[in-house]
Each structure stands twice: as structure tokens, then as C-alpha cells.
Subunit: 321 residues, 2 copies
């Protein structure tokens, strides 16, 4: 019998928005490129060693959650009340299993908890203190909300609210793009492992200045995240309300399944045509069952990186990169 | 120019499960039939008077939320902590606008709040205390959680937990079906108004004995509720985790759009084939842009009623009804 293992592949994003070379210092650009490469490599190592695509996307996203550069985990944006509230989701394409958490304040790596909801609970989605109680029951050490706080994000909130208690930033704490990142910062990963199983995951702090327990698309299966071995895996980043209303991630997979078009074409139809017509900004990354990697975004740029089935690493920030 | 107004139609459900004639007294059956007729008629009156399909589905669902017979609003099931936590969502098919609330404890009619999230906030989904704060800001009077409590539901929880503090029920408080209703009780409505706009809405108390801030499919746009004038409107009821993983409501609309099949066939493919293969119980109601009404469920029965474009009222409980 022939060896049926396939070469794995992985693609990640760190948010979409007005990401333009002319608005970025060389130092900041280098910092993003380095962190995106570290993130995608962490996931690829899992895949190369025979690990699952679920473990791979978690490994990649943890690198971005632990980095202050992205709106997820440490360095996430502040709510109206100057706290950080995090959402994440994971889906596995072999059996359509999924897990998600929303509005958690004390979980260092929400993507890991979303995976544990998938693997250890009969539920798909757990919210807030309930999700944290589940985490404690499963051995998680809760962190204080201040762990996530950064001066850069607090300044973004206070500027937005017209407050003047803004602190000076060090050189590495650039504060560009804050307006776009109000809505569009999110991280995600999609991978296919040697068994051919696709997994997708997304993690975010949501919108700067969010109120009322607002939940965006990142923890919603079908909106920000979807994975089905028969069509594709998708992770999205953008103005969450539009992604929910258009069921972006599921719609892309549905177009692949039912229209028989390529994943690139399906993603472009949803992101460039439908979402743009609705007025929604953002983008997606994706992988099809053959391991082909796609990007589609209607913003000036998207932080993104991939390692394809040939093992080739790509890191891109701008539209033309 | 010809009058382009179309005759309206509406369909509702009050949950799916092991609903069998031989397990129901005549009195209980009559009570359900009467309340289903009252609910669908309330929505139809709105439509007949030129009101919107959104207002119609809200009117129908409020009747069921206010009735103790259904697992929504008053009479909803208890959580593990002996409280009631409610979820609801609304979607309008003309512009894909949507609103949802999850985990609210003090809102008498969650479906109304979901519609206000759609109409009065820039967001799609608000959770828990945040949603209640938004309600207060918009003039809602909050009710005490005890408003929702019924002896019948408390008994269901305590029996499930093996506790013996179960109270005697009066004749009208039947306690059949508690096991199925742990998972499958939900109410919903889909309507098309004289302008041809489809709206769908769903409301629920979720699962008996739920913990950890568990959120099911009812407040998830694409899972329990979807409406798109170009394909269909859907409201689902069933084992929510499966509805979320299969993105049931959006998948049915996507099959209509991209496969060009009828709504009945699309719903049957998802409910009878896909969901059943995954092991998920439940059903949906739906309407297509021509006002054709469909039901599809893989359980022994579903509480359901409709008034079609000819004004004909139908009320059904069992598979053969």
C-alpha cells in the first residue's frame, strides 16, 4: 500500500486594515515580519512532526496571543470599561467538531480554551465567567486581566474617547493604525495535516471601546471560523458584524461545495464582491483539501504568512508584497 | 403600474422532540394547539395590516415567550444553578441585518431585545449583563429572574439531578417529554410581508441543567436563524451544538442559492441527511421568496403552525397530523 500521508501546509493572519508601507517604520515592519514568521513556523513544526492540524493552529495562534503586536491575548484592545475581553474559536474539518469561548477576561490563551471546549465538553460555545469556571475545572491557572494590558492599547481607547491621559510610548510601541484596528484586528490560522484534516482557528480582543458584552464574528462558527475537509478551512478578520450577517466563513465553504468553484474564487466572491457591497471591510485566509493556500481581503493590507506543501515560507503585510 | 404587493404568509414552531399523540392527554394537546394558533395569528394580523415581517415574527414569538408551554421566556428551562438564561435572534432578509442576545436573565421578551439590537445598535450580538444594560438604556423595564420560573421546569431540573424536592403539578402542568425538551425546546417564526421581505427569529431557554454560560444555536446567525430575500428564511430547533457545527440555517439558504434546488429539498438534505448522519436531532421551519412554507424535522414531532398566502391556518404537532 502506498504511503497516503500528505505534505502539510499552514497559513496565518494577524489582522487586516490600512496597513501601508509608507505609514510604517522599518523597525515596526521588521517586528511584524519576524513575529508572523515565528507564528507560522511554530504551527508548521507541529505538522512536520506528524501532529494534528488542530494542534498546529493552536501553536501558531498562541505565539500571536502572547505577542503585544496583535489584537489577541496580551496586547488586545480595551473595552469601554478599560478591561480586556477575549473571544476565540476552533473547528476541525474531519468531523465538524468545534469549540468557542466569548467574553473571557482571565484566560491567557483563549484559543487553547476554545480547543478544550471542543475536546472536553459536550458544548460548542461557552461565555464569560462560565467559560472561566470550565477552564478552572480543567486545570487552567487564571491570569489577572492586567496581564493583557498594554500602554499602546490604553492610549488608543483614551484617544478615541477624547481623554488626555495618554502616556508616552517607547519606540517599539508604535501607535499607527489605531483607527483601523478598532474593528479589524484579529489573529487566525488554518492548517492541513499529514492525514489531510483541515483545522481553522481565530482569536481576538474585538473592537476598541466595545460595550454591552458585544460579541463579534471570531467566536462564531460559520462567521469567523469554519473547517470542513470536503471544502475548505477559513479564518476571517474584519468588521465582525458584517462577517456574522454574511456568515462569511461558512458561505465561502458552501460556494466551494455547491458551486464547484475554486476556493480562491469563492473567497473573492464573498470578500471582494458581497462583503464590499454590504460595506464590510476585512479579509480571510484559507486552505482547500489539496493544501492550496489562499488570501482574500478588501483592505489595503493584511498581516499574513504561510508555509506551503513544499515547505516554502512567505510573509506578507501589504497588498503588493 | 401594477400593484406589486404580495399576499403575506407566516410559519412558526414551538420546539421539536418526542412529541407523540399516545404520550399526550387531550387537554395538553388542545392547549398546545390553541397557543400555536394564537401565536401564528398574532403575527399574521401584523402582516395583513401591512406591517413588516420583522414585526410579525416578533409578535408571534412574544405569544410563545409569554406562555408557560414553551421553552422560551416564561416557562423556560432551568440552568444548573436554578436560574433561567435566555437567548434570541432576529434577521431581516432585505438587507441581511441581524440582532441577537445571549444569556440574558432579566428581559421578559428576549426576541424584542434582539430586534432592538438589530435596529438601535451598531452590533449584531450582545451578551448577558451587557445586553441588559443596553436594554435599560433603551427604556426596558427589567424583570426579576423569578418571573420566568415555573414548578414544571424546576421539577425537570431536580429530577435530572436526582434530587427529590419535586413538587406536585397541577393538571395543566404536564411534565412529559422533559428529556427531549432538555435539548430541543425552542420557539421560532419566519414570515414574508406584503413587500416580499422575509424575516426569521428564534428564542429559547436552552438546555435544562446547562452550565458554564453555554450558548446554543438560537442566538447564532447562520445556525438557528437566517433570512435572505434571495433564498429563504429559516428558524431551527434542536440539539444546538449540531446546528452550530453544521451552520444549519445558512447551509439551507446556501443550498437553495447555489444548488438551485427547492427550499424543501434543501431543508431535507440538511435535516434528514446531514444532521441525522452527524447524530443531531431537530427540525426547521422556512419560507421561500414565493411564500412557500416548509417544515423538515428528524424527530417524532414538532410543534408547528402556519398561515399561508391564501390565509389558510394549519396547526400540527405530530409527524402524521
Amino acid at each position: 500500500m502506498a504511503d497516503t500521508k500528505m505534505a502539510p501546509a499552514i497559513v496565518i493572519h494577524g489582522g487586516a486594515g490600512v496597513i501601508l508601507k509608507e505609514r510604517m517604520t522599518d523597525e515596526v515592519e521588521a517586528a511584524y515580519r519576524k513575529m508572523l514568521a515565528a507564528s507560522v513556523t511554530a504551527g508548521y513544526e507541529v505538522l512536520k512532526n506528524g501532529g494534528s492540524s488542530t494542534d498546529a493552529v493552536i501553536a501558531s495562534i498562541i505565539v500571536m496571543e502572547d505577542s503585544e503586536l496583535f489584537n489577541a491575548g496580551k496586547g488586545a484592545v480595551f473595552t469601554h470599561e478599560e478591561t480586556v475581553e477575549l473571544d476565540a474559536s476552533v473547528m476541525r474539518g474531519s468531523d465538524l467538531q468545534a469549540g468557542a469561548v466569548g467574553g473571557v477576561k482571565k484566560i491567557r490563551n483563549p484559543v487553547k480554551l476554545a480547543a478544550d471546549v471542543m475536546n472536553l465538553s459536550p458544548h460548542v460555545m461557552l461565555m464569560g465567567e462560565g467559560a472561566e469556571f470550565f477552564a478552572k475545572e480543567n486545570g487552567y491557572e487564571l491570569v489577572d486581566n492586567s496581564y493583557f494590558h498594554t500602554k499602546r492599547r490604553l492610549n488608543q481607547l483614551r484617544k478615541l474617547l477624547g481623554k488626555d491621559e495618554v502616556s508616552a510610548l517607547s519606540e517599539t510601541e508604535h501607535d499607527d493604525y489605531e483607527i483601523d484596528e478598532n474593528k479589524l484586528g484579529t489573529v487566525g490560522a488554518v492548517a492541513i495535516d499529514q492525514e489531510g484534516t483541515i483545522a481553522a482557528a481565530t482569536s481576538t480582543g474585538g473592537m476598541t471601546n466595545k460595550r454591552f458584552g458585544r460579541i463579534g464574528d471570531s467566536p462564531i462558527i460559520g462567521a469567523g471560523t469554519y473547517a470542513d475537509n470536503s471544502s475548505c478551512g477559513i479564518s476571517g478578520t474584519g468588521h465582525g458584524e458584517f462577517f456574522m450577517r454574511a456568515a462569511v466563513a461558512h458561505d465561502i465553504c458552501a460556494r466551494v461545495s455547491y458551486k464547484g468553484i475554486s476556493l480562491q474564487q469563492a473567497a473573492d466572491e464573498v470578500i471582494q464582491d458581497k462583503l464590499a457591497e454590504m460595506g464590510g471591510d476585512g479579509g480571510v485566509i484559507g486552505l482547500d483539501p489539496e493544501g492550496n493556500i489562499i488570501y482574500s481581503f478588501n483592505t489595503p493590507g493584511m498581516y499574513r504568512a504561510a508555509i506551503d506543501r513544499e515547505g516554502k515560507l512567505t510573509v506578507m503585510l501589504f497588498k503588493e508584497d
